[in-house]
């Protein structure tokens, strides 16, 4: 079993350790999943995400290499920016979803899922010989933490000694120094929070930064709440909303609504793995928008955000029905808490009241929409559910608003 550089911190904080893709990671701290979720939405949550993979791709051919092996347009990334991207299969599914950062002209950082790290590394290296490119796996040398939530920015500003936070707006990156430790920082995250940061720190200085952030008021958050936060934000998790489906068949990437932000057919990008299949999927999805489902065989089922109307909780694997007809299944689902918030952005006030609601993501027939009557089978009962646009509005800073 592997441990991140923060393992002793997790133990000292009372973290409950579980095996996650071969890593000993905290599923929760003594506060528990619900309180950790709420602390992130109201204040700031601190997450150890060092189990994820961090690859440095450099050299004169780095851009061409990334344009061919990834789905997004890496050339659209200016130095100091990041983008969501996919490692596609030739058939238009996903080997993994990833984040690509461009800290300098000929150097890129690719962050991949812990569960896919070895697979991604082997796969990407199989193309490296064709390019003037160097791949370096720095996953165990560089720590990665996420600081997410409305108070994150004030916490960081109170600690910065040198440098500035990235410019406002998602996906910007910069260099800062805290406690004499250099930090590569981005406005990215996996919680749906509009104010969000991820920090990359050489191992030697990482624990000092962790301590400083906790001292400044950030709440430690485990993998349990990381999952409920991303689910509330309708963010996909590889292996659930992407990759293989419940029957072990490849899911077309465009089944996932976020795919359209991660795939580019720009001329500059040229050919890339999976392009032909992905173009067909993109065309089919565009037709669906006009109510034309004549090519529905290409992406038969799509991921929809749902909420439960009747009492009960939908879980991954629960069957979804429209009338008597089975139309798909729940890919992720649980009960998620929220703060009752008064006022409108940006002048909102958190009350001390909280609620919770059962929500989920479902892979269901692409023709279904918010007016469709659907039910989820929970044990032996059919529970009424509804397709919704979202369960969280996280575009406008400083607060992500629950949709209830």
């Amino acid at each position: 079993m592997k441990r991140t550089v923060f393992y002793d911190k997790h133990i000292a904080l009372g973290g409950k350790i579980v095996d996650f893709s071969g890593w000993e990671m905290p599923i929760q701290y003594p506060a528990g999943i619900v309180k950790e979720h709420l602390a992130t939405r109201r204040n700031a949550g601190l997450f150890d995400v060092s189990h994820m993979g961090r690859f440095i791709i450099s050299g004169a051919g780095a851009l061409d290499f990334l344009q061919y092996t990834l789905s997004n347009n890496a050339a659209a990334l200016e130095v100091g920016q990041a983008q969501y991207t996919i490692i596609p299969t030739a058939s238009g599914s996903a080997i993994d979803d990833a984040y690509l950062y461009r800290p300098s002209e000929d150097e890129f950082l690719l962050v991949v899922n812990a569960s896919n790290l070895d697979k991604d590394w082997t796969y990407l290296n199989s193309f490296a010989a064709n390019y003037d490119v160097q791949l370096l796996n720095r996953s165990t040398e560089v720590a990665m933490i996420a600081l997410q939530g409305p108070e994150s920015e004030a916490i960081l500003n109170g600690l910065i000694e040198k440098g500035k936070l990235p410019a406002d707006g998602r996906n910007n990156i910069s260099q800062i120094t805290i406690s004499n430790v250099d930090i590569f920082i981005s406005r990215t995250g996996y919680t749906g929070e509009p104010v969000c940061f991820e920090l990359f720190i050489e191992n030697a200085g990482a624990c000092a930064i962790w301590d400083a952030l906790i001292e400044a008021g950030a709440e430690p958050v485990g993998l349990g709440a990381r999952d409920t936060l991303r689910l509330e934000g309708s963010l996909p998790l590889y292996g659930h909303e992407m990759g293989d489906d419940i029957d072990g068949n490849e899911m077309p990437l465009y089944a996932c609504p976020l795919a359209k932000f991660a795939v580019s057919f720009d001329e500059v990008k040229g050919d890339f793995i999976g392009k032909e299949a992905l173009q067909k999927q993109a065309n089919a999805i565009a037709e669906y928008k006009d109510g034309n489902f004549s090519n529905k065989a290409i992406v038969p089922r799509t991921i929809k955000t749902i909420k439960l109307i009747d009492k009960g909780i939908a879980r991954a694997g629960s069957k979804v029905f429209a009338g008597d007809k089975e139309v798909g299944y729940i890919t992720s689902g649980t009960m998620v808490p929220y703060w009752i918030i008064e006022g409108e952005l940006p002048d909102v006030t958190f009350t001390d009241k909280t609620g919770n609601r059962a929500i989920g993501l479902a892979l269901i027939d692409c023709e279904l929409n918010k007016d469709s009557d659907i039910t989820v089978q929970v044990r032996n009962k059919q529970i009424k559910a509804q397709i919704v646009i979202n369960n969280l509005k996280g575009r406008k800073p400083p607060v992500a608003l629950p949709v209830v």
């Binding site: 999943i33 349990g224 059962a358």
Partner: protein
């Protein structure tokens, strides 16, 4: 810590038997292991329950777990306010967090349940 005078199941329910009526609940061990409880589904008064089979469900953020009846009989009363006051279940599993009361159909089933000391010994072998 489990309480003396109650009977226990391997699936961490307790039963307090008073005459022909048993009050059923979940142990503090179960509560701690479930984590945050977010949903509780209880039967209705008048429902029949059978020893060792599910009469309801308790759900945490991570998972759903069956509530198994320690004894057989008919539900006479449920803790109606509990599903909307789950903190009572978390904070007071042996008192205010009781789940249902049942009228026993076979009082001899109680002899198959664990006493407090046996249950505490049993817990030592749980993770």
């Amino acid at each position: 810590m489990a309480e003396q005078g109650l009977k226990y199941t391997e699936s961490h329910e307790w039963a307090k038997i008073e005459g022909n009526i048993a009050t059923i609940g979940l142990t503090d061990f179960a509560i701690e292991h479930l984590g945050d409880i977010v949903y509780l589904e209880l039967p209705e008064a008048g429902d029949d329950v059978t020893a060792g089979t599910a009469f309801g469900t308790v759900e945490s953020v991570k998972a759903a777990s069956d509530l198994n009846s320690p004894l057989s009989g008919k539900v006479t009363e449920i803790n109606e306010e509990l599903p909307d006051n789950l903190e009572t279940l978390q904070n007071s599993p042996f008192a205010g967090g009781w789940l249902v009361k049942i009228e026993l159909s076979d009082a001899s089933e109680a002899s198959k349940l664990m006493d407090c000391d046996v249950y505490e010994e049993y817990l030592k072998n749980q993770d």
